[in-house]
Subunit: 277 residues, 2 copies
């Protein structure tokens, strides 16, 4: 693992690190915020998964999460959204290939050799960060934005017992039914739709639910709301009697201005689950 | 004036607008955050001037200022740092020409026709925003980062009575003495150093001072601290008995991670001057 940068930030350290990834067969970069408390012992962890076109950097510089994580003594991890590099397959569209890994393990060509983002975020990166940093593996929570909200919800439900709480900002909530989903799931996983179900938050909610609280925020003026389908997840949560708070926020859109507005609420929500549980 | 974008943000609106600038003889773009309170009447204004290489956008997305401005009911204005465009002179170096206007009116070629950033920020942009938006001209404050900290301090002292308070993050504090200053002041204003004095915060503090409180923060690990010379301004403030708080923050560098860490303090400082004065 190599240190790309470390900056003092809200009493802690915002670092960027790169490493050779076995699951993605390329170098991967991630951001990690360690609060001051990490100097005296392991701290809880909040994973933040980003959306289409993002790298590890977008949320790290635009979501305003560090201040609330510092206040709560929680670390933040910002993984990249896909494998990258010259030898890695890509597509001209912004929503497929590099920057659009969708948090799945691709089985189809040309994606399969590198696009193993589920394994990367679920297994390889946790193993690395818990070895290298002062983090408490028993106290993890997860959040994300858009495609990253999809990733957070599906990882949380797909890895029972791993996360104490899950939240999402404008998550892609029912990707097997919409254009943000069907295109990528068919490209990465093939045409057999039964293979897609583990990567659809609404279907996962219907089948499995989550053993902890769920919080989502979506803007009423989100320009992509028809692709996100918050109504599907809302229906599924209510039908399952899932402990959940799903909010539609008046006038907000899909941007980081929206994400940063509600970040305090999300970090406080996770802190309560991590410390109160 | 043209609306480039408007996003809901912390209960208010983060807008981006462009207009044809007379002083800079080109189109200029700026960011403006209006808190919810602006819907019911004019609100106080905090100007934020950015540093070398920045546009109107950097602080708008990375400084985390909107949340505190929303809490205090204060508007934020984010001007660009220079004229821009194909017909505008530029230089290969990052610290001269486009993105490096230094908040002066250039008198030298090839800069003079467009690089009139003092007039733009001091006269033209205020006239526009006070006409177009619900802002209170009697309640203005100013801040900035690096080159923008230099701009904030020199504008505050050069326009007595305009601003209730001034603050700066890692300001270029004595540009007539350092490489971040001598190069630009000689290029824009010529070799007669007597013309530079009005654009040096330390010299302005020695000669004029400021009729209000001053706050600055600079990181002890700022990689550019030798170019910033906070010690010159500190000496001048103390010598003048200027009401001021000049802080060196342990371990912080020059980045927006540093700026965002202390933004709450700066907005609260200005709010006290704007509402308490």
């Amino acid at each position: 693992m190599e240190t790309v940068s470390e900056n003092a930030c809200f009493g802690g350290v915002q670092g960027v690190y790169s490493h050779s990834s076995k699951s993605c067969s390329c170098d991967m970069t991630f951001g990690l915020f360690l609060p001051e408390e990490a100097q005296s012992g392991p701290v809880p962890v909040l994973w933040y998964l980003s959306g289409l076109t993002c790298t590890h950097e977008n949320a790290m510089v635009k979501a305003g999460a560090q201040q609330w994580a510092a206040e709560q003594g929680i670390a933040l991890i910002f993984p990249d959204t896909s494998p990258r590099g010259e030898g890695v397959a890509d597509d001209d569209a912004y929503d497929l290939g590099q920057g659009a890994g969708f948090y799945v393990n691709a089985t189809q060509q040309p994606w399969a050799p590198h696009f193993q983002m589920w394994d990367y975020v679920a297994e390889e990166l946790p193993a690395l960060v818990f070895k290298e940093f002062s983090l408490e593996p028993e106290l993890q929570a997860i959040t994300g934005h858009s495609m990253g909200g999809h990733g957070a919800l599906t990882l949380a439900m797909g890895l029972p017992g791993r996360f104490k709480s899950v939240s999402a900002f404008s998550p892609i909530s029912n990707p097997t039914k919409g254009d943000w989903g069907r295109k990528q799931l068919s490209a990465y996983l093939g045409e057999d739709e039964s293979k897609w179900a583990a990567h659809d938050a609404t279907l996962m909610m219907q089948e499995h639910g989550f053993d902890g609280p769920v919080l989502t925020d979506t803007g009423t003026k989100d320009q992509f709301v028809d692709l996100l389908m918050p109504e599907s997840l809302a229906q599924a949560c209510a039908a399952r009697r899932q402990v959940s708070t799903l909010r539609m926020q008046p006038g907000y859109d899909h941007s980081y201005f929206f994400v940063s507005t509600f970040m305090e609420d999300h970090v406080a929500f996770h802190a309560e689950a991590l410390y109160g549980g």
